[in-house]
Symmetry: C2
DNA sequence: GACTCGCATTAACCCGGGTTTATTGGACAT
DNA sequence: ATGTCCAATAAACCCGGGTTAATGCGAGTC
């Protein structure tokens, strides 16, 4: 089941329909604010968004990026009803569909197909998180950057260096130094190959 | 449903019973080896275990610790059937119950109660991973150490400094320095309060 | 053209953590 | 008592990344 089909199916569900909310958000606006409770599952139909923490010193660290056709939300909010530890911010104008978690879950519990979709979805999230934990534990910032360029090739052109740096856990200055190192190594490599 | 009840219930399931395997593992032995495929869900009934990566330079980084009454396994193996990126090693003698993931899943799909148990379990894992990602992104090694002492107070006495260091992503030497800093700050604090 | 604004880069300095090697001290065996 | 093993600490040195401040350098705007 692809993303559009999934949304279509949810929207045509009689029980769910009145709880579904389609909204647009301008670039720069926040879909969820840090410290706020939002128990919706948020389907991003168009645009680009980030999840990020702002520390008490005012520094922003990006947890993840989401492009069109992805599903967002704070597990903590959805499951526990507690305030979100992070914000969701639009990096481009975004079109989203929001559905309360408990409503979605109760529909899933009656529809094995849907249940399977979200179970698989959770598994995918688990795998991504497992990979990210590995990268922070075992890789240098430089290797995390290389990995990022591969894994996120499709959205890299839509991001700034500062955003990428924040995602891999370093400052923009450090990222700039890494890019310099990589470029120098490459030109040396080319020269060495001649 | 508590842990023993859950295992009892699984063991008394006629379909599952022939696939369930109870084994003992000596301290130091590996329940899953890095690079091996093991599609079992592993219930740790007694003992203490770790999941860890060994990098190609031979350094070991610990992903997580598991004490009695917890559930282990490689999502990647279970779901994708691919080799595990990490090993599970016994830090004490362990008693485990292993059940193939696909068998367990098919039983769950017919038993909403069980499905809910594992769905909740996945949610708990997600929350833990979310927290760990936050700690690596936003906290210093020293703050991660403080957090570890709080969150894992119940197993700290059973671990070495080297294991704790590996879990929070630093060397034992660095942890020793941090402990020294904390002790000095504490004795200063006490002195200052007099 | 001259102005600003935002992004990326650079340089200079500092500090936390890695690396290597050495030392201490407890547990255990002989 | 002596030797061995291992965990923990300590000292010396190096390097990556943080911090601050300065410098390009386009894209708009007036």
């Amino acid at each position: 089941m692809n993303f559009s089909d999934l949304i279509g199916r949810l929207q045509s569900d009689a029980y769910l329909a009145p709880h579904i909310c389609n909204t647009n958000h301008a670039k720069g606006s926040q879909i969820i604010k840090q410290g706020e409770v939002c128990q919706d599952v948020i389907f991003l139909r168009r645009g680009l968004a980030q999840m990020s923490y702002v520390t008490f010193e005012g520094k922003e660290w990006i947890k993840s990026f989401f492009a069109e056709n992805s599903v967002m939300g704070s597990r903590r909010c959805q499951i526990m009803g507690e305030p979100s530890h992070f914000a969701i911010t639009c990096l481009e104008d975004c079109e989203v569909t929001a559905i309360p978690y408990d409503k979605l879950r109760s529909v899933c519990s009656k529809d094995p197909d849907l249940m399977a979709v979200f179970f698989d979805f959770n598994e995918q999230v688990s795998l991504r998180k497992e990979k990210r934990e590995y990268e922070f534990l075992c890789l240098s910032a430089q290797d995390r950057y290389r990995g990022f360029l591969e894994d996120y090739a499709h959205i890299v052109p839509r991001l700034t260096q500062a955003q990428i740096a924040s995602f891999i856990g370093i400052t923009p200055i450090a990222l700039s130094r890494i890019r310099k190192r990589i470029n120098q190594a490459e030109s040396l490599g080319v020269a060495g190959a001649q």
